[in-house]
């Protein structure tokens, strides 16, 4: 309350050189913080009692989100509803909405990629946006110089990003935690600075314009048509990502990633090749960022290094952390929340970042695992099934 005093109560009117004392504000802030502290304490208390209650029954209780996905009565109609909504979305809503949705879907894809690196393998990567930039620039440059089309570059961009993932992976093999974060941060900045300053190569800060939109067997679309086309393309790519990431997570490699996150020494002692496992995590994570980047370049038709700043990396990381590390559904929800909310809250744009920060703090205090955090329990079911099959 006292901290806000200079900002909220005193206002210096520089034109008339008088100081306004807005005592009303002080009362509001006082009452507000008083109320908020109550809410805060109540939530904390609830959390504690909740923990106590939850412990003993946890073993045989399936979490709600799990039930939602297991129970076909809820699951199938929900899936159909989402599918129908997704299909009619671009025809019902305006192009502005569709564009926002495309952005959100791009973020879903790249966040799922980062989820492999951070969520599963536990390697904190703060320079992830570099791979996004690699994807975007590979489309822009290959198209500019060689006239390659979107569909040719999509796999090339993904491959190049994977290559960069491995290039980053090698020097950081020995690092963990904070050190790794710093190095990846540096890597992200290097890529951005190279793009910004190497004018002959990347056209510097002025960027590359007139990148063609993706083609569809040579048909020319109107602007609206092209947007809708990219939208469906992005839906397809997202589904593809979810499919692949889900399968990876549920495989021998996915298990090795999680083991690496849990305990590196034990992981190696159990016969897992640390080098290989880390590099695959970096490469596969970067692949999705590369694809996302290609689509991003095709969507905006203009890219410059300003799109690939550290803030972007943090944003993607927030999606993963907020959504729930290692949980696919969680990351998808996280991406929608973090990308769509700021768009629709434009009216309160002044308070956006404030709100954003507050939400993050609250989340980390009350739900440190993210919105949905039940990766291992999903596994549990498979184990049980197999067990009953055997006995």
């Amino acid at each position: 309350m006292f901290l806000t005093f200079p900002i909220m109560v005193i206002r210096v009117n520089t034109v008339e050189n008088v100081v306004e004392w807005r005592w009303n504000n002080m009362i509001i802030i006082g009452a507000g913080s008083f109320f908020l502290s109550f809410v805060w304490r109540y939530l904390l208390k609830k959390k504690e009692t909740g923990n106590q209650k939850a412990k003993p029954v946890e073993t045989d209780r399936v979490p709600l989100s799990q039930r939602l996905f297991e129970d076909h009565k809820i699951y199938i109609p929900a899936a159909i509803a989402i599918a129908v909504f997704a299909v009619i979305f671009p025809f019902v809503f305006s192009m502005y909405q569709t564009n926002i949705m495309i952005t959100a879907l791009i973020y879903v894809t790249i966040a799922l990629g980062l989820n492999i690196v951070v969520g599963l393998a536990g390697l904190l990567d703060l320079g992830y946006v570099a791979f996004y930039a690699v994807g975007a620039y590979s489309y822009a440059l290959l198209n500019y110089h060689y006239g390659l089309g979107f569909w040719t570059v999509l796999p090339i961009g993904a491959g190049l990003a994977a290559l960069f993932g491995i290039i980053l992976g090698f020097p950081v093999l020995r690092l963990r935690g904070d050190y790794l974060a710093i190095v990846t941060l540096g890597f992200g900045e290097i890529i951005r600075l190279v793009l910004e300053n190497w004018n002959e190569f990347s056209f510097g800060p002025s960027g590359i314009a007139n990148i063609p939109r993706p083609g569809f067997f040579g048909i020319d679309f109107s602007l609206r048509g092209a947007t809708i086309y990219i939208y469906f393309l992005m839906i397809g790519l997202t589904l593809f990502t979810v499919f692949v990431v889900n399968r990876l997570q549920d495989s021998r490699i996915g298990r090795a990633w999680v083991a690496l996150r849990e305990d590196e020494v034990a992981c190696q002692a159990m016969g897992i090749d640390k080098t290989k496992t880390k590099l695959t995590a970096f490469a596969l994570g970067a692949t999705w960022a590369g694809m996302g980047g290609v689509v991003f370049a095709a969507k905006t038709t203009f890219i410059n290094p300003a799109s690939f700043t550290i803030w972007e990396s943090i944003n993607i990381l927030c999606i993963v952390v907020l959504g729930g590390m290692g949980s696919i559904i969680g990351v998808i929800i996280g991406a929608f929340v973090l990308i769509l909310l700021p768009e629709y809250l434009r009216a309160f744009s002044e308070y956006r970042i404030l709100l954003f920060g507050a939400v993050l703090v609250l989340m980390m205090v009350f739900r440190p695992g993210g919105i949905i955090s039940n990766v291992r329990r999903t596994y549990k079911f498979e184990g049980l099934k197999n067990k009953t099959e055997m006995s």
Binding site: D250, R252, E262, V265, A269, G271, R376, N386
Partner: protein, 262 residues
């Protein structure tokens, strides 16, 4: 009895500190060998050298399995040592805390499987079969070790004794021929220790593994081991059967100090 693991004058320096000083050891097929010594004697360092976590300064470690060529395992990475058939547990439990018990054991099977990225994505028949087999094998191992009731429990929620046994199960999943146990009975109550005793003997008899264990529980060591090696200040000070060790003056000195006439 054939020697299957031979360690010759193993030396490990950390800067100026000599943690291991020309230690020799050999382990025979189907034998339970104990490594004892006061705290800080270099027992765990010895383990870390064998399993590749440290690269020893000097010395040779040679495995010779029946029907296979002799191999030197110096300087191999830990995962390759495990692949060669030496598996270990840790003094301070190092389970994958947030994974289920079954998954912990499945990780142990990792190095005996081969499916890759493409297999994971396309789920071809070989991969599906392999996964199925991994689950079944892991479950069998858990059953043998007596942990099958916990299959789907998250590892960190297990009682302490069960966590220790899970470490053994996980190590067994890598199909070792020598099992290295680092203080398996630490922190266990007498009941759990007895069970552990049975388990170790059973592993030796049924699974045909040789066992090298570090342990401070003398009752366990004396009843279990065929031979005992004693270390102090990085040097091997004695070796022999439990009875020989009990009466060895050097060992008594290391543990209790020297007798003085005062």
């Amino acid at each position: 009895m054939r020697t299957i693991l031979e360690i010759k004058s193993l030396t490990m320096d950390f800067g100026g500190l000599r943690a291991l000083d020309h230690v020799d050891m050999d382990i025979n097929e189907g034998e339970i060998v104990a490594l004892i010594g006061p705290n800080g004697a270099g027992k765990t360092t010895f383990f870390n050298c064998i399993t590749g976590i440290y690269a020893p300064t000097e010395g040779d470690m040679i495995i010779s399995r029946p029907g296979k060529k002799k191999t030197r395992i110096n300087g191999l990475k830990p995962n390759l040592v495990t692949e060669k058939g030496l598996a270990r547990t840790f003094q301070n439990i190092r389970l994958f805390a947030n994974m289920t018990v079954l998954e912990n054991v499945m990780i142990g099977r990792h190095c005996r499987c081969s499916s890759g990225i493409l297999g994971a994505v396309f789920r071809n028949r070989a991969t599906v079969k392999e996964e199925q087999k991994v689950v079944e094998d892991s479950y069998m191992i858990l059953e043998k070790i007596g942990l099958s009731e916990y299959v789907n429990e998250v590892a960190m929620n297990l009682p302490y004794g069960a966590q220790r046994r899970l470490e053994i199960a996980r190590a067994m999943a890598t199909e070792p021929f020598v099992l290295l146990l680092d203080e398996p009975a630490a922190g266990m109550n007498p009941q759990e220790t007895r069970e552990l005793d049975d388990l170790i003997v059973r592993l030796r008899d049924d699974e045909k593994v040789s066992i090298l264990l570090i342990e401070h529980d003398m009752k366990l060591v004396m009843s279990l081991s065929d031979r005992i090696f004693v270390m102090d200040y990085g040097k091997k000070i004695a070796q022999g059967t439990p009875d020989e060790i009990k009466n060895n003056p050097a060992v008594i000195k290391a543990y209790l100090g020297e007798e003085t006439d005062a």
